[in-house]
């Protein structure tokens, strides 16, 4: 167990088995008396969330993100491995762990719709062992913080989806837990609401010193919000790094040269340090030469000088050039596709 982490998973494994009686395979049309299906939602996953950190768990649908969150919150018991929250083993100290985590699960109706937001917070506050004046003050402060102060006496069923999601976050925060687990907090929200929720999550972590684990398949959310990112695919943690490191790691050291006409590739292939040249029309008609260079600093420098000189020599007008920004989306696709498998060893904790 690492003391620096407030949430830690040690080689956690979870497999679900389902049995289907009188099963008919839709593809082969073959019938069988029963059919057993095994899905590995987590395969020896290990990572930690430091105090005050936002950790993003990124992965496609069915990758095992929600299962991981549920294992941390004690809703699902792992088959093997250990989960610690604030130094407490989740299996043996589950009720104590629950006082330390606030959870927002994806796609659930956490709040009770006939009650108002204030009544919801009072109800869930009591369920989480908060009471009296402390609870009343905290409920009002939270609604003010999240921007629902004006709607605290309106029935929850009348709130918009984004407002309900905000209320779910308030419910998770009502007992003032040091750890916040947010499963797909912005799914299904419009741009404005999504931005609003992201800002509030940042406020909670930076302003109140809480740690958060956010699962998402929205790259923008992860890139903007998270200090560190773990990429999970088919139950395996295939990458886990600081966000910038992850972006740099998969950066292919490419530069874009914006020129006046579409260049001929063969004219640049022999420049030292240039590994690959791809001409393309950006935004429909702007000719761009994408040049992949060697990662060695000296060779990269030589390649860039060589490119500028060659463009001038061949009579191209160079409008501008810039380093090609790697997006988390590219990293994600890289890691979750076969391309990432070879680099898996280099992207662990």
């Amino acid at each position: 167990m690492n003391r620096e982490y407030v949430v830690e998973l040690e080689r956690v494994t979870k497999t679900f088995r389902t049995w289907h009686f009188l099963y008919k395979d839709e593809d082969t049309q073959k019938r069988s008396l029963y059919y057993r299906r095994t899905v590995t939602a987590a395969n020896r996953i290990s990572f930690g969330v430091a105090r005050g950190e936002i950790f993003g768990l990124l992965g496609p649908n069915g990758a095992g993100k929600t299962t991981t969150v549920k294992m941390i919150s004690g809703l699902i018991r792992p088959d093997a491995g250990r989960v610690y929250v604030d130094g407490l083993h989740v299996e043996s100290k589950r009720l104590q762990v629950l006082k330390r985590v606030g959870v927002v699960l994806e796609g659930t109706r956490t709040s009770i719709w006939p009650l108002t937001p204030l009544e919801n917070l009072m109800y869930y506050g009591n369920l989480k062992n908060v009471r009296g004046k402390v609870l009343r003050t905290r409920a009002r402060e939270l609604l003010d913080f999240i921007g629902l102060k004006d709607k605290m006496h309106i029935q929850t069923r009348k709130l918009s989806r984004g407002e309900k999601q905000k209320l779910a976050i308030c419910i998770a925060l009502v007992a003032d837990p040091p750890v916040l687990l947010l499963d797909e907090p912005t799914t299904g929200l419009d741009v404005q609401s999504s931005r609003n929720i992201r800002d509030k999550i940042l406020d909670v972590t930076s302003g109140q010193g809480k740690s958060a684990l956010v699962t998402t398949h929205d790259m923008h959310v992860a890139q903007e919000l998270c200090d560190r990112i773990g990429i999970i695919n088919k139950g395996e943690l295939v990458a886990c790094k600081r966000t910038e490191e992850l972006l740099n790691l998969f950066s292919d050291q490419s530069f874009e040269f914006h020129v006046d006409r579409l260049p001929v590739v063969s004219e640049f292939a022999d420049i030292p340090g240039v590994r690959n040249v791809t001409p393309l029309l950006k935004d429909g008609d702007e000719p761009v030469l994408v040049v992949q260079v060697d990662s060695d600093r000296a060779l990269r420098s030589e390649a860039l000088y060589g490119m500028v000189a060659r463009l001038k020599q061949r009579g191209y007008v160079l409008h501008s050039f810039n380093e090609r920004q790697q997006s988390l989306e590219n990293v994600f696709l890289h890691v979750t596709s076969g391309a990432g498998q070879g680099q898996k060893r280099n992207v662990g904790n």
Binding site: I76, M122, N126, L127
Partner: protein, 278 residues
């Protein structure tokens, strides 16, 4: 202390909803009264075709009250077991079950608190219903506070224990909820005709009926409230009747079995990941 905090939270929630949806609360009460009254009136009006023994029940005010009480106990049993089956399924579907599981009080405490609150609101509305029926058709209930409270508390423990067992099964096998509908109707019928069932049926069925939570509870409640603890004009305390002892055994066994079963199933469902699934 934590249990009472959850009871308070549940009480506030229930009464806010009852007050906010006052029309639904009121129409529920009126409908129950109307249904019961219509049944009684129907039987009375058709005395000539339903046979003298059944018709006799409704010409006698005490018998009508007895019958109405059976109906109410049946409704209560139906509701308690329903809370642990259909309601639990709904909570699993909409995610509230997972929220309750994440309460540091634990799922058993939360459900126990919900049951207490449900019992309180049910007893209050039943009291109003019984009073209305007694006023309309005559007859009166005997108000003997101590035995009534003791018998009601044992009935509550009996039904809650059974409910916990059903709830435990529903946590793991959600489809069990459909089978439970049949059990709920059996309990409902037993509450009506508990005394008759325990006298007339074959031994095996009789013992099964006694093993179910509502039979002896209904016999004892009716004995206290309708007969005023008198047998052929002589006062015989309910505490000396065999049904009372069976009720004590039943409530102890069902509570222990129910809560143990629920805990085991909750643990198992966490392993299988079925808490939030339907």
């Amino acid at each position: 202390m934590s249990f009472f905090l959850v009871v308070k939270a549940e009480l506030v929630r229930t009464f806010i909803i009852m007050r906010r949806y006052w029309f639904r609360t009121l129409t529920g009460l009126v409908l129950s009264y109307a249904m019961l009254a219509a049944l009684i009136i129907g039987f009375v009006a058709r005395q000539d075709t339903i046979g003298p023994s059944l018709a006799q029940r409704f010409t006698d005010a005490d018998k009508a009250t007895n019958w109405a009480l059976g109906f109410i106990i049946g409704i209560y049993a139906f509701g308690v077991v329903g809370m642990f089956s259909q309601r639990l399924q709904t909570m699993a579907q909409n995610g509230q079950l997972e929220q309750l599981c994440m309460s540091p009080h634990g799922l058993v405490t939360n459900f126990l608190a919900q049951s207490v609150v449900s019992a309180v609101s049910s007893i209050l509305s039943s009291a109003v219903l019984i009073w209305l029926i007694a006023k309309t058709f005559g007859g009166a209930l005997h108000a003997d506070f101590t035995p009534t409270v003791i018998v009601l508390a044992l009935t509550f423990a009996d039904l809650i224990g059974f409910g916990f067992m059903v709830g435990g099964l529903v946590l793991l096998f959600k489809q069990v909820g459909q089978v439970v509908v049949i059990v709920r109707f059996v309990l409902f019928l037993l509450a009506f005709s508990a005394e008759k069932v325990t006298q007339d049926l074959p031994v095996v069925i009789r013992w099964i009926a006694h093993a179910l939570p509502v039979t002896d509870a209904a016999i004892c409640i009716k004995y206290v409230l309708v007969q005023g603890q008198t047998m052929e004009g002589t006062y015989v305390s309910v505490f000396t009747r065999p049904s009372f002892f069976l009720l004590i055994i039943n409530s102890t066994v069902w509570t222990l079995v129910g809560i143990s079963c629920f805990r085991v199933m909750e643990d198992w469902s966490r392993s299988k990941g079925t808490l939030g699934a339907y």
